[in-house]
Amino acid sequence: MLKHIQRRLLHLVPVLVGVSILVFFGMHLIPGDVAQLLLGDKGSDADLARLRHQLGLDRPVYIQYLRFLSGAVRGDFGVSLRTRQPVIWEIGQALPVTVQLSLAALLFAVVTGLLLGVLAARYPHSIVDTGSMAGVLIGVSMPVFWTGILLLLVFGGLLGWLPLGGVLDGGMPYRRITGMPVIDGLLALDRAVVGSSLRHLVLPAVALGATAMGAIARMARSTMLDVLGFDFIRTARAKGLAERRVISRHALRNALLPVVTLVGLQLGLLLSGAVLTETIFSLPGLGRLAITSVLARDYPLVQGVVIIAAVVFVAANLLVDLLYAYLDPRIRYG
């Protein structure tokens, strides 16, 4: 197992170098000039030339890349053009928000997805089954940003049950430890912060998790149906075990494996959806940072965000992979 992890990690090195090359040179093909963008519709030609020089934009590209790579290895992605703060600091502010959102969405997706899938498989072709599978089919086809807008409009606007975005009630003070208000609130045993941040989390998590939930429900249903037809289940039933016990003890266990795989496949979609969800719900996360920095042509920030997103994504996939190996007794890595 350890060796397997080692091998996987080693395998990542050339991948990440490839990622850095792609990102760096990709960004430099972008039309439009950072210096120009910073100046906006004011400023003279002399200002422009001066700014270009200050930003090192007048140096050869390969030198810019080498400087970038040597910094990146040390976690130094340079300084944001717009805010003049270190890129890694900007990312550090945003990342916890995205992690919290993604985990909440994943939690929602797995729990409700499994629940719906198992229910549907337990009563195949019943109203429960048809209804939930129809719902799932629709859920999978809903654009994240559209779901978000509608949820916000209905539960935030019309009904007023939940907040309209943000991570916390305005200006509520709390001690930043992890940067994830829910966790920080729990750590500080601050009921107000936990309550407020949870209420802020519900709608974005549901919007973001809806697609993954649908996929998981479908997968859970079909594998459950398959598994329920197997001999050992019939044996278990024949032994006179209660149906609930048959399902929870024998069937679900076997149905869980493909779900874990699916979660791995859904991670990318989840991170992608975060870009849109964070925009709709005013969440100061990595996705929003990505969009604002792309639109502002903040090269160093875009590079940092994309690379960090890739690293997080790769790490999460590795984790899922290992979890899978751990859960599946048939797989043993030498």
Binding site: L16, L22, D226
Partner: protein
């Protein structure tokens, strides 16, 4: 990981019947095809179904509710919403189908070559695949669009540059599996050419999972295209692309929610049609049928 996934997804239950019988008995497939037929017809016959076009302004008649002259009302420019939805179907169907078709063909070809020939070609392709899949899909596409410039054409390019990877992986995995089968070995022994083997023996056996996957990919690409347009990176105004319409309508959400809600509904319906077809196809094309 992809290998595990393929293994896990591979159906376990076999019910032998003929394919056509299955098609006729698969309500999922029929329903999906019927739905798609309606959408395609509506898109194609748009000029017959409405007398408005998708972009002419009427600033005297903005934000009108549904009426006999404007079936679904008008938007902030006084444009007919029904007409825009119909003409929008053309764009979104094109995004879904065209983007997917190219990645399906190109990706499968690459996967086929890599899997069949193996060796250095395989290693290079897989390394490239590793790099592409190291990014969250959408983040990479956004990055590419930012690089290439906004607009429909560049959006297609970005989707193609990233999308082939899934097909290459799926087909390569299948080829590796099929390559070791006796009938391929046999063909090789009796001296069949590579091209002959691939076309006659390998391709038919590996293309099914790619085609089944492509149906859900169509849905994904429609969602992707509308998301990019929503963010201002894809289709540009005044195109009646559905995601763009949602973005334009969102400013008026509080007063005219339907401007955003209806295009979203159109996306959902189209997505459902393709998902149904995909599910149906998966049933019908199961091995052993």
């Amino acid at each position: 990981m992809a290998e595990h996934a393929a293994a896990a997804v591979r159906p376990i239950v076999h019910v032998p019947t003929t394919r056509w019988a299955r098609v006729r008995r698969s309500p999922t497939l029929l329903l999906g095809m019927a739905l798609l037929a309606v959408i395609v017809t509506a898109a194609a016959a748009a000029p017959l179904l409405t007398r408005y076009d998708s972009s002419s302004h009427d600033l005297d008649r903005t934000f009108e509710g549904p009426s006999r002259t404007h079936l679904l009302g008008t938007d902030n420019f006084g444009r007919d919403l029904f007409a825009r939805l119909l003409y929008g179907a053309r764009i979104d169907l094109m995004i879904g189908i065209f983007a997917t078709l190219v990645t399906l063909v190109v990706g499968s070809a690459i996967g086929l070559a890599a899997g069949y020939y193996g060796g250095r070609l395989d290693r290079v392709v897989m390394r490239l695949v590793d790099i592409v899949v190291a990014f969250p899909f959408f983040v990479l596409v956004i990055g590419l669009v930012a690089m290439l410039g906004t607009g429909l054409r560049n959006m297609f390019l970005a989707i193609w540059l990233v999308g082939w990877v899934s097909y290459a992986r799926i087909v390569r995995g299948e080829v590796l599996f099929v390559r070791t089968r006796e009938y391929v070995e046999a063909a090789r022994v009796i001296g069949a050419s590579d091209a002959g083997i691939v076309v006659r023996h390998v391709l038919p056996n590996v293309v099914t999972p790619a085609v089944v996957f492509s149906m859900s990919d169509v849905v994904l690409n429609i969602l992707l295209g509308s998301s990019l347009s929503f963010l201002g990176l894809g289709a540009q105004p005044p195109a009646p692309e559905w995601g763009l319409m949602i973005a334009e309508g969102r400013t008026f959400l509080a007063t005219a929610w339907w401007l955003s809600a209806l295009p979203g509904l159109a996306i959902v319906i189209t997505g459902v049609a393709f998902s149904l077809i995909g599910d149906g196809l998966a049933d019908v094309l199961r091995p052993g049928g």
